[in-house]
Symmetry: C2
C-alpha cells in the first residue's frame, strides 16, 4: 500500500492526448500534422545568437541573478507600448511576464477558479486551457459557437452568466476561426450586460496572412478583459516567454500567484527576447513568417480539396496554424488515428478540444510544421486512410 495520499484534484488530471500523439509521431517516417510546432526554419537564429552575446557581454551578472517576479522592466515597457500602438492602452505596471502563456492560464486558474466556478469556453476550445483550469475544479459551460466564434445571442439564454469566459478571437486553436469585428463588438456588449468578464488569449494574432485582425476584446473593454500573449509563435517557443496584461485590480493577486509558481521567468531569456525586439526584428521577421505559413495554408487547402471525402467541411483560415476539418457522418477521428499513424501520417482528433460533448468527426491539422510539398503528401495519405475506412 502506498504511503502517499494524492489530492482528489489529481483525479481530474489526465495525460494529454496531444502529448501521447506527439510521442507516436516521433516514429521515423511519420509525417506529423498533429503538433502546433512552429517551423524551426522560421526561427531567427543569427539574430538570437547576436542578442544572446550582447546580453552575456553586457550584463551577465544581472542576467544570471534572481530578479523581480513582475519581469524585466524594459520588456514590460516594450509590451505595453506595443499593445498601446495596437489600440489597447496598457501601462507597464499591468504587464506580468510569464513562463510561456501556458503559465498565464495556470495563474488565471489559480486566482479565478474554485471548485464549482462556472467558466465559459468556446466550442471547441484550447486543450491547454482545459488542462490548466481543470485542477482548480471549474464547471465548464461550453458556449454555442460557429465559424465566427462564440455566438453572443446564445449567451443571453444560458441563465446565470459564467464567472468568466475564455476566448481566443484570432485564428483560434483548434478551429482557426477569426472573430469578425461586429461579432467582437456584440460579444463585449453582451458580456458587459451580463457581468461576465473575459480572458482573451492571443498567441496567433500576429500570424495573419492578408490583413491584421480586428481590434482586440481588451481594447474594447479594458477593465473587463484579462489578456494573454506570447512570443512562442512570432519568435521561438524555446524561450518560454509569455505575458499577462491584467486589469489593475487583478494584478496584485496574479503577481503573488506568479511568485509562488516559479519566483520569476528566467532573467536570461527575458533579456534576450528584449534585445531581439529592440532591434525591431519583428518588423522584418514577421512578414517572412506570414508568407511561409500562408504557403503552408495554401498547400493544405489544395490538398484537402483534392483528397478529403465528399461532405467534409473546413473553413479556410486567414492566419494562425490550423485547419479544422469535419468529416462526413459516420467517421470517428480517434478511430482513424491508429491506422493513419501506421500509414505514416498523424493528426489530432478533435474530441480533445471539447469541454462538453465532443464532435467526433473533427480533426485538427497543422500547416506550419511540415514544408508545403510534404503537406500535400501527408494529406494525400490521410485521404487514403479515410477512404479505406469509409
Amino acid at each position: 500500500m502506498s504511503v502517499w495520499r494524492q489530492a482528489p484534484r489529481t483525479e481530474g488530471m489526465n495525460p494529454s492526448i496531444i502529448r501521447e500523439i506527439l510521442k507516436l509521431t516521433e516514429r521515423p517516417g511519420v509525417h506529423s500534422l498533429a503538433g502546433g510546432l512552429p517551423s524551426p526554419d522560421a526561427f531567427p537564429i543569427p539574430e538570437i545568437r547576436e542578442a544572446t552575446e550582447r546580453v552575456l557581454a553586457g550584463a551577465p551578472r544581472e542576467a544570471l541573478q534572481y530578479a523581480s517576479s513582475e519581469g524585466y522592466g524594459p520588456l514590460r515597457e516594450w509590451i505595453a507600448e506595443h499593445r498601446t500602438a495596437l489600440g489597447h492602452p496598457v501601462d507597464p505596471d499591468q504587464v506580468l511576464i510569464t513562463t510561456g502563456s501556458q503559465q498565464g492560464l495556470d495563474l488565471v486558474g489559480k486566482i479565478l477558479i474554485d471548485t464549482g466556478t462556472r467558466v465559459g469556453v468556446e466550442t471547441p476550445t484550447y486543450l491547454g486551457a482545459l488542462q490548466a483550469f481543470t485542477p482548480f475544479g471549474p464547471e465548464y459551460v461550453s458556449l454555442p459557437s460557429d465559424d465566427d466564434g462564440i455566438d453572443p445571442r446564445a449567451l443571453l439564454k444560458i441563465g446565470d452568466a459564467p464567472s468568466f469566459a475564455y476566448v481566443i478571437p484570432n485564428f483560434q486553436n483548434p478551429s482557426g476561426w477569426l472573430m469578425p469585428d461586429g461579432r467582437r463588438a456584440d460579444l463585449v456588449s453582451v458580456a458587459r450586460a451580463i457581468g461576465m468578464p473575459l480572458v482573451e488569449d492571443d498567441p496567433y494574432g500576429e500570424i495573419w496572412f492578408d490583413r491584421p485582425p480586428p481590434a482586440s476584446l481588451a481594447s474594447r473593454w479594458p477593465e473587463g478583459v484579462l489578456a494573454l500573449g506570447s512570443f512562442s509563435k512570432v519568435l521561438t517557443p524555446g524561450f518560454r516567454v509569455g505575458y499577462v496584461i491584467a486589469p489593475p485590480e487583478l494584478f496584485p493577486k496574479l503577481l503573488q500567484a506568479k511568485q509562488a509558481a516559479d519566483l520569476h521567468t528566467p532573467t536570461f531569456t527575458q533579456r534576450i527576447v528584449f534585445e531581439v525586439l529592440r532591434d525591431g526584428l519583428l518588423d522584418h521577421h514577421l512578414p517572412a513568417v506570414r508568407e511561409r505559413y500562408a504557403r503552408g495554408r495554401d498547400a493544405m487547402e489544395a490538398a484537402l480539396t483534392a483528397h478529403m471525402p465528399e461532405g467534409s467541411h473546413w473553413h479556410r483560415p486567414d492566419g494562425g496554424m490550423f485547419f479544422w476539418v469535419r468529416l462526413p457522418e459516420g467517421f470517428d477521428a480517434m478511430h482513424l488515428l491508429g491506422r493513419a499513424v501506421d500509414f505514416g501520417v498523424a493528426f489530432v482528433p478533435g474530441e480533445a478540444f471539447y469541454a462538453g460533448e465532443p464532435d467526433r468527426r473533427t480533426l485538427r491539422l497543422s500547416f506550419v510544421t511540415l514544408p508545403p510539398e510534404t503537406i500535400a503528401e501527408a494529406v494525400a495519405l490521410l485521404g487514403q486512410v479515410i477512404r479505406d475506412d469509409g
Copy 2:
C-alpha cells in the same frame, strides 16, 4: 463594483514580506543582509558564455523549439547519475525538470494538498514553500524543532500523522541547521512507522564548508521521499532550472501538473546547464564557491560576536547562506527593521518563516551577497540599531 470574482483561495495569498523588504533594500546605500541572492562574483560567466555558444551553434533548432514536459533527456540522466553517486539510486525516468525548485513546490502542492490536508513543516520553515502550498488550502502542523531540525520524538505525540512533512535537512533556510546523521535515521524511522512521507528540499546541500552533509533522507527511504533540487545556488539562479525526483507512483501526476503549469522549462537554458555540467564545471567551481561563502560565514560570525547584545543566540552554520539570530527577550525584529533600513542595513525578520506562532525575536542574515568587509560593517550598524532600541 468590479465585474471580476476572485477565487476564495486568493484571500490566503499575501505579498511576500521578503519581496517588500527587497524593495526597501534597493535604496542606494543600504547594505542588504536580507536577500538569499548568491554572489554574482561566484557565477562562472566565461564557462556559461562558452556553453551558450555551443548550444546555439550546435543545435539551435532543437534548443529553441517546444520540447517534452519531462525535460531535456541528457540533463535528466546527469541528475540521475549524480544522485546515484551520492547514494540515492535514481532512474532518469524519475527526474522531472522544473522552472526552479520553487515550481517543484507548486507542483507538490497541486498533487498532494487539498483543502484541509495536514502538512508538517519545520519550525521555522522556508517562506517560499508556505507561499506555494497555501493556495491549495493546507492545515499546517508546525513540528517541534531544535538546532538539529525536526524532533522525531515529538512526531510520535502529535496524534494523526500529517499527510506529508516538508523538510530541508541541509543548511536550512532560514535557520542554517544541518540535520545530523542520527537524527536523519530517527526521522525516517518514525516517519515510516506513522506512515508520513517526506518532501525533502535541498538547494544548499552542495554548499558545505568542511565536509559533505550526511546521506539524504531520500537515500534512506526512496519510495517515501520526494526530493527537490536546484542549480540556482551552485551555478546561477537566472536560468531557473531545478528538478524533482519522484517515487515512480507520483511521477505521472507530477508530469501532468508540470505540463499544465508551463508546458516545459525553457529548452535553451536546460541545454546550457547541461553543457556546463558535462564539462565537469562543478568539480572545479564548487570548491571556490564554498571557500568564498565560508569566508562570509567567518566574517559574519566574528561581527555577530562583536556587535550583538548579550543574551543573543545563534548557531554557526557549516554551509548554506544564512545565520539565524535570536535576540534577547523584549526585542521585536519587525519593529527593528524600519530603523535598520534608515541606518543603511536590511535583514529579514524571522516571523515570516513560521507556519504557526512566530518567534518575533528572530532574524535571518545572509552572508553570501555582500563581500566579507561589508558584512562586518553591516553587522556593526545592525548592532548599533539594536543597542539604541534596547
